[in-house]
Amino acid sequence: MSDVQHGLTVDALAPTRPTATQRGLRWRPPLSAAVIAALAFVVLLCIAVAAPQSISFYDPLRGNFLQSLQPPSAAHWFGTDRLGRDVLSRVVYGARYSLLIGVSAMLISVAGGVVLGVFAGLRNRFVDEAISRVFDVLSAFPSVLLALLVVVFLGASMVNVAIAIGLSGIPKFGRVVRARARLVREADYVTHAFIYGRTRASVFVRHLLPNVLTAVPVIATLDIGTAILAVSALSFLGLGPQPPTPEWGVMLAESRDVLRVAWWPSVFPGLALTATVIAFTLIGRALQAHFERRAR
C-alpha cells in the first residue's frame, strides 16, 4: 500500500488546467528507436542473403596475396585477411550461411517442438509423461554439447549443424506449446465448439492449433539469434561449414592466429554476429510486448 498516493487538495475551487498528457494525448511512438534500428539491420541482412553482390565489391573467395592483412581503407572498408580477401565481402556473403543455417535450425526446433508439444498437451498422461521426459533429457545437456554429439555422429556439414542446433532447441518450444495446449484444451470456447456439433478434428484445426500457435512467433524470433550464435560456435570449433566458406564462425576461427597483428579480420565478423543476435532479440522482445498488450 506504500505506493498509494492520496493527494488531498485543500482548495477545491482551484481548477488545474489539463495538459496534453492529462488529456491522454501524449504521443507514444509505436516502435522504439532501437527496434527500428534492429529492423533496418535485419533488412540489410536480408539484402546480404538475397543479393550479396549489391553491397560488396569483391569475390569473397578470391584473395590477392600482395594485399594480405591490409588495415581498413577506402578500397577495403573492413581491411583484408591473411589470404588477401576482402573482409567486408566475406562478412556480407557470410550472412547467407549464418542466417540460413540459423533460421533452418529454428524451424527444426519449431516443427519438432510444436508436434511433440501438442501431442504431450493433448494426448493421454502416458504420452505426456514420455514426451516430457524426452524434453528433460534433451535439455539436461548443454545445447552446444548436444549439438557436438549430433555432429560427431552425422559428420560435419552445414545441414548437420542445422539439425544439431535444431534438435537441441526442441524442448524450449515443446514445453511452451505443451503448456499452451493444456490451457486451450480446457478453454470454454473449445467446449463450445463441441456443443455446436463440431468433430474433434475440426475443433483441433479451427480452434486448438491456431490458439496454441499464437505462442510460437515470439519465441521463434528470439530463438533465431541464439541459433545463429550456436551455429557460429560450432563452426568456430570446425564442426560446421569448412574453410574457405565465408561463414562468420569460420572467419573467426581463421583469423584467430593473426589477432595479435591484425584485429579487423576477427572483429568485423564478430560485430556482425553480435549485431544480428541483438537485432533478433530486440525484435522478439518488441513482438512479445505487442502480444502482451493485445492480450490485455
Binding site: P18, R23, Y196
Partner: protein
C-alpha cells in the same frame, strides 16, 4: 455527537490517467454511529471510489477534493500517509467482495485477524492477540472458532470466508465498517447470514457504509440510501422513500429493472418498463423437447475416498415453447445437470432424451446431427469466444454450412445481430472491446444462428448490472416467445427465476426438492430448503420486521 463521517462536495479526479472528467463529483456523505448508510449504483458509478477515499485509498494519482472532509471531527484534507495508516483498521474496517482474494493465502484466518490487533497494538502479546482473534471470529458467528482460526481461506466455504473477512475488518473495534459489495458472489442463504452479522454490528453502535448494486438488499438494512450515477448522487433518502416513492427517473428505472414474481410477462428495461410482453404466452405446450429420467452422477472426491453425489435421481421434461427454471445454490448440481443435458458429461445412471431420441446413451457421432438443435448461453460469454475471432466469425461458426455465398452469410449474420439489438457495425469488432451486455447479446445471436429447439442458459445474467440484466432478460424473453424455443434457465437468483420461468425446479444437494409454479411455489414453500430460500429472500429484502426483531436476535 460528532458524526463518524461528514463529507461535503467530495470530488475525485485522476488527472494523470487522462480524461479530466471527475469520477466522483460533489457527493455529500454523512455516517453516524449506529447507522447504516448505503451507496447504490451500477458498476463504474464511482460508489466504491467514494468509499475508498474515506480510507485514503482512492488509488494512485487520485486527486481528492472536498469542501468539508471530516472523519470523526478531524479534517482529513491535511492527513499525511502516516495519519491514514493509523486510521485504517482502528477507525474504519474495509470488507471487500472477494474474500478469497482479500485474505492472504499463506496465513490462517486466525493470524489474519490477529495481525490487525498486533499492528495497531491492541493486544499486548501474540498469544493475547490470538485469543482475541478467536473471540472476534466467534462474534461474527463462526462456530468452533479455535479450530477455524487454524484454517486457511481456501479451506473455508464462501460464507465462512466472508465472515472471516468481516472479522478482520472489525477486529480493532473500528467505529466504522465499510462493506463494498460484501454479499455479491454469495448464495442467497449465505447472504442473509452475512447481513445478519452486519446488522448486529449496527445494533452495537457501529456505523456501516454499505456499497451495493442491489437496491432490494440495501432496503433491508440501510437507514439512508444514496443512489449514485456517473459519480453523482441522484437521489438520497430513507429506503422507504427512495424505494417506495422514487423521485428520480434513474431510481425508477433501477427499481423497475429488478426481476421478481410481480414482473412476470412484462418488460424490465426501456424508457417505460412494465409493458406487457408483445406475445402473450400460450398455456398449452406442444411436443416434448427434452426428457430427463433418473439422472444420477457421482464424483470421487479424492483418490476414490468419499464419493460426492452431484445429482441424485433427477427427472423432468421440457416442452416446446416452455421455460423451465432451475434454482439452487452453488454446489446443488445445477451445472452438472446442464453439462449432462449438453452431453459433455455422461450420467452414472438415468437417461436424457432429446427430440424423442436417446441422447445421453449414444455415441457422440450419433448426437452430432442433433447438436445444432441444442444451444447454450454461458455465464461468461467472453471465455466462450475464440480470442482470435471477430463478432462475425463467432456467429458464423454456428451457421449452417449449407448457406452459400459470402454476401448471403454476411446478411444472415447481420440479421441475427439485429435481432439481438446490435447493428452491423459490430460485425468486425473483437469481443474484448464490447461491454458485458453486448457480449451476452453476441452469445445469444450465436445460439440463435442454428434455429435451436432448446436453449440452455446457465446463469446468463448473473455477471451483469441490474439494468443490463433487465435488457438481456427482456431480449431473451421476447425471442423465446416469438421463436417458441424450449428454454432451460439456470440461476441462483429466485427473482430472476420467478420472472422468466413457466415452471421451476428447486435443486438442493443434487436432488430436486421442490417443483411447481414459480409464484405459488415460493408463496407456499413445501420443502425445508425452499422455506429457507424464502426466509433468506425476506431477510435480504427487508420484509419481516428489520428494525425490531431481526436486528437484535440476528
Amino acid at each position: 455527537m460528532t458524526p463518524l463521517v461528514d463529507v461535503a462536495g467530495l470530488t475525485i479526479r485522476f488527472p494523470r490517467a487522462g480524461a479530466g472528467r471527475a469520477l466522483v463529483e460533489n457527493v455529500d456523505l454523512r455516517v453516524e454511529a449506529g447507522q447504516c448508510v448505503a451507496l447504490v449504483g451500477e458498476s463504474g458509478s464511482g460508489k466504491s471510489l467514494t468509499a475508498r477515499s474515506l480510507l485514503g485509498l482512492a488509488g494512485h494519482g487520485a486527486e481528492v477534493t472536498a469542501r468539508r472532509f471530516l472523519l470523526r471531527g478531524r479534517d482529513a484534507r491535511t492527513f499525511a500517509e502516516a495519519d491514514w495508516r493509523r486510521l485504517r483498521g482502528t477507525f474504519a474496517g474495509l470488507v471487500l467482495q472477494d474474500a478469497l482474494v482479500s485474505l492472504d493465502p499463506l496465513r490462517t484466518i486466525g493470524d489474519e485477524v490477529a495481525e490487525i490487533l498486533l499492528t495497531h497494538r491492541l493486544a499486548p502479546s501474540r498469544a493475547a492477540a490470538r485469543v482475541k482473534a478467536q473471540e472476534t471470529l466467534a462474534r461474527v458467528g463462526i462456530s468452533d472458532p479455535a479450530s477455524r482460526a487454524r484454517q486457511y481461506a481456501h479451506q473455508l466455504s464462501g460464507g465462512l470466508r466472508q465472515r472471516a473477512l468481516i472479522a478482520s475488518a472489525i477486529a480493532g473495534d473500528p467505529p466504522l465498517v465499510i462493506a463494498d459489495e460484501p454479499t455479491t458472489a454469495l448464495d442467497m442463504t449465505v447472504q442473509a447470514q452475512v447481513l445478519a452479522v452486519l446488522r448486529k454490528r449496527i445494533a452495537q453502535g457501529v456505523g456501516v457504509l454499505l456499497i451495493s448494486h442491489d437496491l432490494a438488499l440495501v432496503s433491508g438494512i440501510a437507514d439512508l440510501v444514496h443512489v449514485i450515477r456517473d459519480g453523482r448522487a441522484v437521489e438520497s433518502g430513507s429506503p422507504r422513500d427512495v424505494l417506495g416513492r422514487p423521485r428520480h427517473a434513474y431510481t425508477r428505472q433501477l427499481l423497475a429493472a429488478v426481476p421478481s414474481a410481480h414482473s412476470r410477462g412484462m418488460t424490465l428495461s426501456g424508457p417505460t418498463p412494465g409493458q406487457l410482453m408483445p406475445q402473450p404466452r400460450e398455456a398449452d405446450y406442444d411436443g416434448e423437447v427434452l426428457s430427463v429420467r433418473g439422472l444420477t452422477k457421482h464424483f470421487a472426491r479424492a483418490r476414490g475416498e468419499t464419493v460426492l453425489t452431484a445429482l441424485d435421481d433427477v427427472s423432468f421434461t421440457l416442452h416446446q415453447g416452455e421455460v423451465l427454471g432451475i434454482v439452487g445454490e452453488s454446489g446443488s448440481g445445477k451445472s452438472t445437470c446442464a453439462k449432462i443435458v449438453l452431453g459433455l458429461l455422461a450420467p452414472d445412471a438415468g437417461e436424457v432424451r432429446f427430440l424423442g431420441q436417446n441422447w445421453s446413451g449414444v455415441a457422440e457421432v450419433a448426437r452430432r446431427a442433433r447438436r445444432r438443435a441444442m444451444q447454450y448461453i454461458p455465464q461468461d460469454p467472453l471465455s466462450s469466444f475464440d480470442p482470435r475471432y471477430t463478432v462475425q466469425d463467432i456467429v458464423a461458426e454456428n451457421l449452417a454450412g449449407t448457406l452459400a455465398g459470402a454476401a448471403h452469410r454476411r446478411a444472415r449474420i447481420a440479421g441475427l445481430l439485429e435481432e439481438v439489438g446490435l447493428d452491423a457495425g459490430y460485425l468486425s469488432r473483437h469481443p474484448p472491446t464490447l461491454s458485458g451486455g453486448q457480449r451476452q447479446r453476441v452469445a445469444i445471436a450465436r445460439a440463435l444462428a442454428s434455429d435451436p429447439a432448446l436453449l440452455i442458459c446457465d446463469e446468463p445474467v448473473s455477471a451483469l448490472d441490474v439494468s443490463v440484466q433487465a435488457q438481456v432478460l427482456d431480449l431473451l424473453a421476447g425471442l423465446q416467445r416469438r421463436l417458441r424455443t424450449a428454454m432451460l434457465f439456470i440461476s441462483h437468483d429466485v427473482g430472476v427465476i420467478q420472472h422468466v420461468s413457466d415452471r421451476v425446479l428447486v435443486f438442493h444437494q443434487g436432488r430436486i426438492v421442490d417443483r411447481g409454479d414459480p409464484v405459488a411455489l415460493f408463496a407456499e414453500p413445501r420443502h425445508d430448503f425452499t422455506r429457507r430460500l424464502v426466509a433468506a429472500l425476506a431477510v435480504l429484502h427487508g420484509q419481516g420486521g428489520r428494525r425490531d426483531g431481526n436486528r437484535h436476535d440476528a
